[in-house]
Symmetry: C2
Subunit: 418 residues, 2 copies
């Protein structure tokens, strides 16, 4: 089933709003076995939306619209659907009653504007909105389907997962997801990964292998070209896993902070952080995970040298001898924060994010990470030279710090060097 | 000048890669006075790209392609441009020489694959690549222009600013940016902003006013509908600024962390942070700004109550009496971190980000922020009830914490309450 996704909104088109609805829909439809072959963004203009839908119907079996179902005058998707179907807009009494009830519960008066959401194309099938007022719309035309979904991300997500995807499966019984396995790697450059996988030859059994480099490392996506290729996908994944070993930190989409959190929770251990160049990013990522308070005690952002000394107990002599960006300082920061917060594991990161502050000996992108614990006195450090601008260096440094925690928890670390 | 932007790549279409190139191009072209009226994403397929360009030429004066100029077999934009112009691909000796020189300097041998980037449509105008090897392409057809730009973001950005925009200005002498002023507000809901602006009536002098709510507050964008409306835009901006007063934290695109950094730097003052529910996000944002070490000493992420007690000196009695999420604890955290790091200003945030941990008295979204200083003993706190999921509550809490720092530095805070 080939699909075109149409996202609607002047703010999207101006580049002011990031189009997270498209990203969500592309992934959700892809997982359901729909092949998204085009994405179009247009402004809140009836004529432009209508022309886009008509054009897409020439080579798409599904056209999915997102946005323009709200109550204001620039919400024109209902008008587009009515025109497409050649039906008038009429007041839907059930939807109108829901809107009226909500207004009453908020102590407000129902206005003509509020009621616009109840004006729907006569007799058109609706998609239930699990969490909002306005339903989605489903219109079949010549074997294809045009669907209108709300633009509010929470409503779009709930409607897609709970209502749209099941309905598409009922509509097209041949719809089946392609088997896919993602292996996420960290710490090995893309070209080295390709060499490790391909040097001895690899039989792909007809599946496709994609290398996807990102700030968190290189993801490998293995996809079957037809729904019954699951065994072939698994065979290829097993071969690759054997060749890359512990460079793979997870199978699936789990981010590194969830992997680390899961390992800490399983062991009943606690983590403390000491950050310099990342400024708090490692802590922010660890606490993205709901329930992280079970294993995360806290952290110290020691940006200035005085903070490294006063808050983490890094000795001025050590700082003077090796500098703030050094394996020795990273190790002292990790042990300092572990001792001060009384946790099993202490994790530290210090580096030069740029654009200023680099030198020949210590260039921009030089980062040291250190893990102290879980066993007492076991401290490991790693040196990285990271590419990219200030934000990229910081993001990569945070991922490498978290990876060192993963390695320490799995006893994958190198011999003790500090 | 109406434009269609076409971004190319299977990974974009799969929702795996966020399309930052589009966002950049939409803003850069908009600022130059080009009206982007459509954005299309297609996969790495010659036929799909060609059909998209031909379709866009029906109603666009500029069609901008991004991506597909690399050296591998799935880079097909050169072929598309050649077919569009009815010209063969021929080896460009200058580009080939640049590639050969680069390969030599890297100690590598030039391969047929590497040389593909020098195969260009015969006689087609090029756009200089200021930082990469492959040039962009410029093809005029029937009064319109089709341009191909690289997909590597750094190269795309440099080529757009330094080469493409000047060339478009020369091509279309009527191209002039529309005057625009953005006023960024914080702390006042969208409906209250509208009421404050519109209750007494406002003469818009023919300019447009857009309300853009986001996690950092509501941005107001005032745009002239023709290039000579700058005076009208300024008049409207001045009226709105008068009615919203200190709810406006900046004019322009400057994020809140830059505003706070600028105020600290101008006063020669230093900041320390105490974070709970944000887990390090405030520190991460403050240190996004290059040079922030001039005014940021460091922070303490006190996630667990023990960390609030041991690292920030919040008394167990106070925690027991008021709880970790309270104005009293926020104030003690701010003063604690200020004293420990010896800074002029201490800033604290504590709250319930959810999804768990809420109660009737203290629901999910309840957040307290506190600022201690710059004058000794002056502590102010604010209570917020924030909407959204865990990440949104955390983002909004961080912005409100930074806003409290701005208010403290500008002496805009309410009377001392703790």
């Amino acid at each position: 089933m080939k699909a075109t996704i149409v996202t609607i909104g002047n703010e999207l088109l101006a580049g002011r709003t990031v189009d997270t609805n498209f990203t969500f829909l592309a992934r959700a439809l892809g997982a359901a076995g729909v092949r998204v072959h085009r994405h179009v963004t247009v402004g809140d203009e009836r004529g432009a939306i209508l022309a886009t839908v008509r054009g897409a119907l020439r080579d798409s079996e599904l056209v999915l619209l997102s946005g323009g179902l709200g109550p204001t005058s620039d919400d024109v998707t209902r008008d587009v659907m009515a025109e497409l179907a050649g039906r008038p807009l009429v007041l839907d009494p059930e939807v109108a009653a829901r809107i009226a009830a909500r207004m009453t519960s908020l102590g407000r008066t129902l206005t003509a504007v509020g009621n616009r959401q109840a004006l729907l194309p006569a007799g058109m099938a609706q998609l239930r909105n699990p969490i909002g007022l306005a339903p989605g719309l489903w219109h079949e035309v010549g074997g294809a389907v045009v669907c209108a979904l709300p633009g509010v991300p929470r409503e779009l997500m709930a409607m897609t997962s709970e209502v749209l995807v099941p309905r598409l499966r009922a509509f097209r019984s041949d719809l089946a997801p392609l088997p896919v396995v993602t292996l996420r790697t960290i710490g090995v450059p893309e070209s080295d990964i390709a060499e490790r996988i391909e040097t001895d030859g690899i039989d792909l059994y007809g599946v496709t292998l994609a290398y996807l480099p990102g700030p968190g490392g290189v993801d490998l996506r293995i996809t079957g070209t037809e729904p019954h290729a699951a065994a072939a996908v698994e065979r290829v994944a097993a071969t690759i896993a054997g060749r890359l070993a512990d460079a793979i930190y997870t199978r699936g989409e789990e981010p590194m902070e969830e992997v680390v959190g899961r390992l800490l929770a399983a062991r009943g251990q606690k983590l403390a952080l000491a950050e310099s160049c990342t400024g708090g990013l490692v802590g922010y990522r660890i606490t993205r995970v709901a329930g992280s308070s079970a294993y995360f005690a806290g952290g110290i952002v020691a940006y200035a040298d005085e903070a490294k000394r006063d808050l983490l107990g890094v000795s001025p002599a050590l700082l003077a001898a090796h500098g703030a960006v050094s394996a020795e300082t990273a190790a002292a920061m990790a042990e300092g924060v572990r001792a001060r917060l009384g946790t099993d594991l202490g994790l530290a990161v210090t580096g030069i994010a740029g654009p200023g502050g680099g030198s020949v000996e210590k260039p921009v992108g030089l980062v040291f990470v250190a893990a102290a614990g879980p066993a007492p006195a076991a401290i490991v450090t790693r040196r990285h030279l990271l590419l990219g601008d200030r934000q990229q260096v910081r993001e990569r440094a945070a991922t490498h710090a978290l990876d060192l925690a993963r390695r320490a928890l799995l006893n994958l670390t190198d011999p003790i060097i500090a």
